[in-house]
């Protein structure tokens, strides 16, 4: 195990490298870069939840002055694929094509127009004549598999490209089932057992910047796509697939982007601007309206039945988790999100018997996709609320209960082996594990069980709740990140990474890692990221992978470059390489001699043994070391209005080494705020015809600063030997805490268990009333 070393720049909260230019409003976003003569696209969308197109007349739109191209199912080739931005072959079903003759949800694509102005494009949409045959629609996931249910994907060419269960004729997108030990026996034999159902709802990512993309035909027959994406390389591949072009004709650039949270791990609009640009021979830009953004991708609503058993002494015995996940009209991320319910939640504790089984079903609702937490959010809610229930039933303190049962360093869980990205996973032993420290430090900081309690008759009642969490760091044996570094004559370096900074600060922390290895200041590392022509490959920003995976690629590349520099210096100084090290922008010899990097750069480019100092490195991993976290919340429940105020929140997280503590804390704060919104306020509501009732910030509220408590973040450093400088991941885990921590705190306050999120005042009052009636 490589020991912890003292570091200079890693572990320091250096300023975000793009912070100043963003704060100054520099034109860095996609829409800032529209070329002259750029056309504007708009999309005609289905207002039916389920319908077959009988006739589509686009001629009046095509004839409108200023309209350059109109696309629809009649004039765009049918290429079945997935919109999910995942590695190929994708675990998501190929159930989508650019335009289909069937409409499967309110908001599905009917046609797209490119015109001289956005207004003209909108006007053109109004001229398109659509006639449909309406079909029965399935909105409720529980009805998707009822006998005689309408088949949402009845097209014969829908298929999967990896060997997994896919039965669209039963509206079944995916099915998973594994068992270790004998769960039924374990549940029956134990001292106490629990059987509860939980449900989570639709929610939207609500990034500041909606999806937007610009496609420009280049003179050499290629196409340049500038897009607000988390997955530039998958965009290149999937757009090429849609256009039936070779990948070589497409270049994808990700500029600065205004948030993604998973919504942009999706090739959602790039195919449209690409087709429109090719048809019109002109640059085409499309930005989704906020209403469209609300209906772009959502979190998978889930229904979870969780059964557990435990001994009287508080040893966990058996667990049986059964999930029904609603993927909406298309199956993107359906399988992998549900696998994460098991793989990111069940290994947290030691179980004798484990069963995890899940169905993912199609409905005619909004399309679910990747959303920060990726299934772990929903499953952690069920698990951590039930853990609380168990602890209380046994009379054990919930913190103690977790300390007693959590997975330890050096241990493994059969779940790692059993559950992967659809198929089998990769066995791993837990390396670094700071969960016990997280629990103890957070409990202390929070004052767990030492807080004054209000009397139970008061109108305002306070309660405390907590939860434990784990996530992963990248997808083992699937994800790949690469980096290249070259040295310039002034001792600066170009760091090229495929990794995708979506506002998270990954450009900054990757530069920190390079600067650390090369012994230079941050200013000497010039980062270029996410340009498929220039930068090496990277799967993109998802699965909490960038720091752990791409960071290690950067470290490897920088190490190779450092070796080359020392070799050049050794030649100049006439000393053996092993006597030389890099520090403070110099190569320093043991005897005190030194050479500046500028001197070495100039020598290598202009003077002696001329050679470009530089290197490529790639990284894949055999493990996905989990970050761990413990969350504590205090709430005040107004038993008259049902309003829940979060008074205090402490989140301790073991993310290995925090490369940049300020950015790591920011990720946790953001994730907790995001999770509090999901727990208390946010919910996409549909009407009986599948239309969004609150697809606007007027009705769909996310927490404002007034709604948030002070979120106290504790970084608990551990050293993950397989990660760069001991780092794991931090970006997703935090969103999983608020649902269970708040639910448990509400129970502590008022004695009602809420198992259906979100915990709105309406629900809380109803639950209080029901409890009152029961007790009287």
């Amino acid at each position: 195990m490589s020991a912890e070393r003292k570091t200079r720049i890693v572990g320091r909260s250096v300023a975000k490298s793009d912070g100043m230019e963003l704060a100054c409003g520099a034109p860095l976003f996609c829409e800032d870069q529209l070329p002259p003569g750029c056309l504007h696209a708009r999309v005609l969308r289905s207002s039916y939840a389920h319908a077959r197109i009988v006739s589509l007349d686009v001629a009046p739109a095509e004839q409108l002055e200023g309209v350059a191209a109109v696309l629809h199912h009649g004039n765009v080739p049918r290429v079945m694929r997935t919109t999910a931005g995942q590695g190929a072959p994708e675990p998501s079903p190929y159930d989508f094509t650019t335009f289909d003759s069937k409409l499967r949800y309110v908001g599905d694509r009917v046609a797209a127009v490119a015109a001289e102005t956005p207004e003209l494009a909108r006007q053109a949409l109004g001229l398109i004549q659509l006639e449909v045959e309406q079909l029965p629609a399935i909105i409720d996931a529980h009805k998707a598999q009822a006998p005689g249910a309408v088949v949402i994907h009845d097209e014969p060419d829908a298929r999967v490209v990896i060997p997994v269960t896919y039965e669209p004729q039963r509206n079944l997108v995916a099915h998973v089932d594994f068992q270790v030990g004998d769960v039924e026996k374990g549940l029956a034999a134990a001292d106490a057992s629990f059987d509860r159902e939980y449900s989570c709802h639709y929610a939207q990512h609500a990034p500041i910047e909606p999806h937007c993309a610009l496609a420009e035909p280049l003179a050499n027959g290629r196409l340049r796509i500038t897009t607000s994406t988390q997955v530039p390389f998958h965009v290149r591949r999937i757009v090429a697939q849609a256009l039936q072009w070779p990948v070589s004709r497409i270049r994808v650039i990700k500029p600065r982007i205004g948030g993604g949270f998973g919504a942009k791990q999706e090739v959602l609009i790039e195919d449209l601007v690409a087709f429109l640009a090719v048809r019109s021979g002109r640059p085409v830009f499309l930005r989704l309206s906020r209403a469209e953004e609300f209906n772009s991708r959502t979190r998978h609503p889930m229904h979870i039945r969780l059964r557990t058993s435990v001994s009287a002494k508080g040893e966990l015995k058996s667990v049986d988790m059964n999930v029904l996940s609603n993927t909406g009209a298309y199956g993107c991320h359906g399988l992998t999100v549900v696998c994460n319910c098991g793989s990111k939640v069940l290994p947290l504790y030691r179980w004798d018997d484990i069963r995890f089984w899940a169905d993912v079903v199609y409905t005619n609702g909004p399309v679910a996709g990747a959303y920060r937490g990726y299934g772990a959010t929903q499953a952690a809610f069920a698990m951590e609320v039930q853990m609380d229930e168990m602890a209380r039933a046994l009379g054990i303190d919930p913190v103690q209960f977790r300390l007693q049962n959590h997975i330890r360093s050096g241990e493994t869980s059969p779940v790692f082996q059993a559950l992967g990205e659809g198929g089998e996973g990769v066995a791993q032993n837990i390396g670094s594990n700071g969960l016990a420290k997280c629990l103890r430090q957070a409990a202390k900081e929070f004052g767990w069980r030492r807080r004054p309690r209000r009397q139970s008759k008061a109108i305002l009642r306070r309660g405390q709740g907590m939860a434990c969490l784990m996530q992963g760091s990248s997808i083992p044996e699937v994800d790949m990140g690469a980096a290249s570094i070259k040295m310039n004559e002034d001792g600066s370096f170009n760091l090229l990474v495929g990794a995708t900074d979506l506002g998270t600060g990954s450009d900054t922390i990757l530069a920190q890692i390079a600067a650390e290895v090369l012994g230079v200041e941050m200013a000497q590392i010039l980062v270029t990221s996410s340009d498929t022509d220039l930068t090496p490959f990277d799967v993109g920003a998802y699965a909490s992978s960038t720091t752990y995976l791409s960071g290690e690629a950067v470290r490897k590349a920088a190490k190779t470059v450092a070796g080359q520099i020392r070799k050049v210096a050794a030649n100049i100084l006439g000393l053996p390489v092993r006597k030389l090290s890099l520090a403070e922008g110099q190569v320093v010899a043991a005897d005190g001699q030194s050479l500046t990097l500028a001197r070495i750069g100039a020598s290598s480019l202009y003077e002696k043994d001329q050679n470009q100092i530089g290197a490529f490195a790639s990284h894949t991993t055999q493990k996905s070391p989990p970050p761990f976290s413990a969350h504590f919340a205090e709430v005040e429940v107004d038993t008259e209005t049902g309003l829940v105020r979060v008074l205090d929140y402490v989140a301790a997280v073991d993310c290995g080494t925090a490369i940049n503590p300020a950015l790591a804390e920011g990720q946790v704060e953001g994730a907790v705020a995001n999770g509090l919104g999901y727990a208390l306020i946010e919910e996409i509501k549909l009407d009986e015809r599948g239309r969004l009732r609150n697809g606007s910030f007027r009705e769909y509220k996310i927490p404002s600063t007034l709604d948030l408590p002070k979120i106290r973040v504790i970084l608990v450093p551990t050293y993950e030997a397989s990660g760069p400088y001991g780092a794991k991941s931090v970006s997703e885990i935090g969103i999983n805490g608020p649902l269970p921590a708040i639910a448990n705190a509400i129970f502590d306050a008022v004695g009602v268990r809420l198992r259906q999120a979100p915990f709105t005042p309406e629900k809380i009052l109803a639950a209080l009333k029901a409890a009152e009636q029961e007790s009287s």
């Binding site: 109108i459 107004d638 008259e640 209005t641 049902g642 309003l643 306020i681 509501k685 009732r693 609150n694 007027r698 009705e699 509220k701 927490p703 404002s704 600063t705 007034l706 709604d707 005042p761 309406e762 009052l765």
Partner: protein
């Protein structure tokens, strides 16, 4: 093409309005209009009232009423000493509107003219017996707020009229007041339900001339005479509070919509009234204790 006219004087606005040009829209802060592109799409002329001299200012009028110019912003109302002293309820209500940014733009005239059932200033204005001054070529006429507001988005304003100001009678004596609002979150959101209350407080603990009004539980802001009758001339006790709260729940004609449910709204107006009255009750108990202490010291 949309023309925007920023006019400095009231008679200029009246002149244009009386020309009866259709497709003319008044705008003050724009916080209701601008987020609604549909409303603007059919508009040819937008008259910006924000700089009209006669629509500014907070002062006493000739009859000794508080006059608030229609283009006065919510933040000005919140901060104004006269309002804080003599119409504190309005200051409380306006402080719950939107956020600082919205309060710096949005006006009392806009809140009235927009006539949203959930508008926050309206329950306060109804409790304060405020009148709306409407200006037209025919001069100025006054309407009580409850007569001005006809329905969601509907008012008694004629096409050639504009709101010139709001007038609030000044009452003397010790007053109590509160404005309570239940929303989806704490800031920047419309009320699921709101309750405003004000009354005279007497030395003996009685409340007189109580006024209670509620927002977002009917097609318009409504006053609650039944609750007022419960409170009038009574010393506040928990039993009285409960009775008044029940009257509020009873009076609510709430509906289900995207923000909440009818049953929650009906329940929560009672809870909000209870919360506000309980605070007043606590305050009065405090006062009574302090008085008693003072008396003891003196004797």
């Amino acid at each position: 093409m949309l023309r925007i006219l920023r006019l400095p004087a009231l008679d200029q606005v009246i002149e244009i309005l009386s020309a009866q040009e259709s497709e003319t829209l008044l705008m003050a802060g724009g916080t209701d209009i601008l987020p609604r592109p549909a409303a603007l799409a059919s508009t040819r002329l937008l008259i910006d009232l924000s700089q009209v001299a006669e629509l500014q200012g907070i002062a006493l009028d000739a009859e000794g009423r508080i006059r608030i110019g229609a283009a006065v912003t919510h933040q000005e109302i919140v901060d104004h000493p006269l309002i804080q002293r003599k119409a504190q309820l309005l200051s409380m209500a306006c402080s719950s509107i939107g956020s600082v940014q919205i309060r710096n733009l949005g006006t009392i005239g806009g809140n009235l003219a927009n006539a949203s059932p959930a508008a926050d200033s309206l329950p306060a204005l109804v409790c304060l017996a405020a009148e709306v001054a409407l200006a037209s070529p025919r001069g100025i006429r006054f309407l009580p707020v409850s007569a001005f507001i006809l329905g969601p988005g509907r008012t008694a304003r004629a096409a050639d009229e504009l709101i010139e100001s709001v007038r609030i009678p000044v009452v003397t004596g010790r007053r109590v007041a509160f404005f309570k609002k239940a929303g989806q979150r704490r800031g920047m959101c419309c009320a699921k339900a709101s309750v405003a209350m004000c009354a005279h407080r007497h030395g003996d603990g009685r409340l007189t001339k109580p006024r209670v009004a509620m927002g977002a539980v009917a097609a318009t802001v409504i006053s609650v005479p039944a609750a007022e009758r419960v409170l009038a001339d009574r010393v506040l006790t928990m039993a009285v509070i409960e009775e008044a709260a029940a009257a509020c729940c009873e009076a609510a004609q709430a509906i289900d919509d995207i923000r909440s449910t009818a049953s929650y709204r009906r329940h929560v107006v009672g809870a909000l009234l209870t919360e506000g009255l309980a605070e007043i009750y606590d305050h009065m108990q405090d006062l009574a204790r302090r008085q008693a202490r003072r008396r003891r010291r003196r004797s």
